[in-house]
């Protein structure tokens, strides 16, 4: 059931049902009122008539009493009644215009005088209407009785009968007189008169005209009822439509918005009542929703773009991850963090350059299977790369068995620290070769690789070199060539460093001048130093003391000179303080 139908039914039930009840109640009340009023009116009329009749009868009784007390009644003694008493009775009958007769009967019930011409001295054997005893005026003895034969016609003469109302009399509760039998439908009221024998007067009202009137009234009443109901229904519908219209508009708006997804739709506000407020609130809500939707669309679009971009980024990331394997992590990181542009730019910087290669690699490749060689080489390069990255090196390139590494770009901890890191790396690589040797031996490679390493610190040109289509991040310069030459000059398992590097790491590592070479393409000879690890090849109790820039190594502390002991103590204290 729709809301509109519910409202219609509600309002119609609220307005029509009471209306119909009131109208029916009024109709019934009208009928009852009519009857009640008519009965009251009839009672009043009957009361008046009763009073009139009783007054009339009372007059007769008084007259009879008066007559009974007259002196002439003494004539009864002299039996000379046919003169004065008869005359009196006749005159009284005339006066009262009576339909009936007075009789004077003696104590033996014999008629001794009468207003009627009948034979006197006969017995009176009727039921008198009124009786009045006659006493002698002088000694108050009852001498006779005055009786009245009274026709009820006398009373009916007092009735004010009309077409619609008629009186009749019930005598002795059974004998009905003067009844109008033409009334088929009637109402009546009745009263009992204080007479003997008893008389009831009934006033009867013809109901036919009233019933006709009532029928007409009922017809008009029904017409009025129906018309009233129609008018009420129309008024109710008009107001319901007015009331419902904004709600229907809201409903339509909801459908429109739902079906067409048109959140710009606005409900017309046609009233200032609660529904108007609701419409305004609805419009505000829809506007808010529309704004939110627009915002959401923008957000979605942005998100879509973001996802798309993210997708691209993911691809790029994947690609870059792949690419990163071909690049030094520092270079890769530097480029991808945007710190370094991928353009043809270069700068001068002081770097520590490291070169290493495998001694006799070419000969080895001839005797080994390519798969084994590849495995060995990859294993070697993998481990070396891990060590290099661990120390913060920038791996420039792998050239066959050679590795070119530099420290100081793109990240630098300072020239000295870069040099220290480079030397540390070289030492660790050297150490790690022992482990690789052991591993390879277990795998059956009896001829393990031996590597040589060269380190030089000097100014280089570092940057992107190549063409616009292909760039290479690398270093160029004489320092690079020198580092390569130093590496070439190194013996197997030897780390050779230039003097520039030695000066930077001298305080940390034990360096010994090895030789001087004149590298190809250089005009000056270069002094080369070997680097020893602090612990490398030393027994558990081996002590290495640096005195006057000279390293002294011994297993027995007592063999040290006093100066060496003092220096050692000093160095250890400094070291302990630092810890």
């Amino acid at each position: 059931m729709s809301f509109k139908l519910k409202i219609i039914l509600l309002i119609l039930s609220v307005s029509l049902i009471p209306y119909i009840f009131i109208m029916i109640y009024m109709g019934n009340t009208f009928e009852k009122t009519y009857f009640t009023k008519t009965q009251q009116e009839m009672k009043t009329q009957l009361d008046i008539t009763q009073q009139t009749i009783e007054q009339y009868l009372s007059t007769i009784q008084r007259d009879m009493l008066f007559m009974s007390t007259l002196d002439v009644m003494n004539d009864i003694y002299s039996q000379d009644v046919d003169r004065r008493i008869t005359h009196l009775l006749i005159n009284k009958k005339k006066d009262l215009k009576l339909d009936g007769n007075f009789f004077v009967i003696d104590n033996k019930n014999t008629i001794i005088a009468s207003s009627k011409k009948i034979s006197l001295l006969t017995k009176y054997n009727q039921t008198p209407f009124f009786t009045q005893e006659i006493y002698s005026t002088f000694d108050k003895t009852k001498i006779a009785t005055l009786v009245l034969d009274f026709s009820l016609q006398n009373i009916s003469n007092l009735f004010n009968n009309s077409k619609e109302r008629h009186y009749y009399i019930i005598r002795n509760k059974k004998e009905i007189l003067f009844k109008n039998d033409s009334f088929t439908s009637k109402i009546n009221v009745q009263k009992t008169l204080n007479t003997k024998p008893s008389i009831e007067i009934v006033l009867e009202q013809n109901q036919e005209n009233f019933l006709t009137l009532l029928e007409n009234y009922k017809r008009w009443f029904i017409i009025a009822l129906v018309l009233g109901a129609i008018v009420i229904a129309f008024i109710a519908l008009y107001f319901i439509n007015r009331l419902i219209k904004p709600i229907l508009m809201l409903s339509t708006a909801t459908d429109e918005i739902t079906n067409k997804q048109d959140y710009t739709y606005q409900v017309p506000v046609i009233s200032n009542d609660e529904i108007g407020t609701l419409s305004k609130a609805f419009n505000k809500l829809i506007t808010s929703m529309n704004n939110a939707l627009v915002q959401l669309k923008i957000e979605a679009k942005n998100r879509e773009e973001l996802i798309e971009e993210k997708g691209k980024n993911e691809v790029l990331k994947e690609l870059s991850t792949k690419l990163s394997r071909y690049l030094s992590p520092q270079i890769y990181q530097s480029i991808f963090e945007g710190k370094q542009d991928v353009t043809l730019t270069s700068k001068r910087k002081k770097l520590t350059i490291f070169f290493s290669d495998i001694v006799g690699f070419t000969e080895t490749t001839d005797t080994m299977e390519s798969e084994d060689l590849s495995e060995l080489l990859n294993d070697y390069l993998d481990k070396m790369t891990i060590i290099a990255l661990k120390h913060g090196a920038t791996i420039d390139k792998y050239i066959g068995d050679s590795i070119m590494i530099f420290f100081g770009d793109p990240y630098t901890k300072g020239v000295q620290q870069d040099a220290l890191a480079c030397v540390n790396m070289a030492l660790e690589m050297q150490d790690h070769m022992e482990i690789l040797h052991q591993k390879w031996k277990e795998k059956g490679f009896t001829k393990p690789f031996q590597i040589r390493m060269g380190i030089h610190t000097g100014y280089c040109t570092v940057g992107n070199f190549g063409s616009q289509e292909r760039l290479e991040y690398t270093i160029i310069g004489s320092s690079v060539n020198l580092a390569s030459r130093i590496e070439s000059a190194a013996n197997p398992n030897e780390i050779l460093i230039s003097e520039e590097t030695k000066l930077l790491v001298d305080d940390t590592f034990s360096c010994k001048q090895q030789k001087k070479i004149l590298p190809k393409g250089f005009k000056r000879s270069v002094a080369l130093y070997t680097v020893k690890t602090q612990t490398h090849n030393l027994s558990k109790h081996t002590i290495e003391v640096k005195t006057n820039s000279q390293w002294v190594t011994t297993d027995d502390i007592n063999s040290l000179s006093l100066k060496e002991k003092t220096n050692l103590k000093k160095s250890l204290n400094t070291f302990l303080d630092a810890l």
Binding site: D71, N74, Y77, S78, Q79, D80, S136, T137, F138
Partner: protein
């Protein structure tokens, strides 16, 4: 003419002969005689009892010659004075005596009513009545 005079004379003689009247009462009454004064007092309702008998005076009708004679002979008051007398009495609640329309009814009344007293020509008096005074 002579005949007429004779008739008048006869009638006059009759009337003279009938001019004897009597006051009568019921024969059972214990009254035997009354004086004219007593009769007058009874008929003017000045006296109501004789011995222990309540007296009920009865007049004939006012036009009756007997009543005129009675008023003239016994009451000795003319009609006008008598009327004035009864008017005065009326204001005291006393009405004139009863009347009977005829001698016959007078006779019947006296016969029936104990204590009643009336007047009749002596010729009409029978054994049921008692004469207590004559005039």
């Amino acid at each position: 003419m002579l005949k007429t005079i004779l008739i008048i004379l006869i009638l006059t003689s009759i009337s003279v002969d009938a001019s004897k009247y009597a006051i009568v009462v019921n024969k059972h009454s214990d009254i035997t005689t009354l004086t004219a004064k007593q009769v007058k007092d009874i008929f003017l309702l000045k006296r109501h009892f004789i011995h222990d008998t309540r007296m009920i005076p009865v007049n004939t009708s006012s036009t009756n010659i007997l009543r005129k004679t009675f008023e003239h002979e016994i009451l000795k008051i003319n009609r006008d004075r008598l009327n004035q007398y009864w008017i005065k009495k009326h204001f005291h609640g006393i009405s004139p005596p009863l009347t009977q329309s005829s001698d016959t009814s007078m006779k019947l009344f006296i016969k029936k009513v104990h204590g009643s007293i009336g007047y009749l020509p002596i010729s009409k008096i029978d054994k049921d009545l008692k004469v207590v005074y004559e005039f």
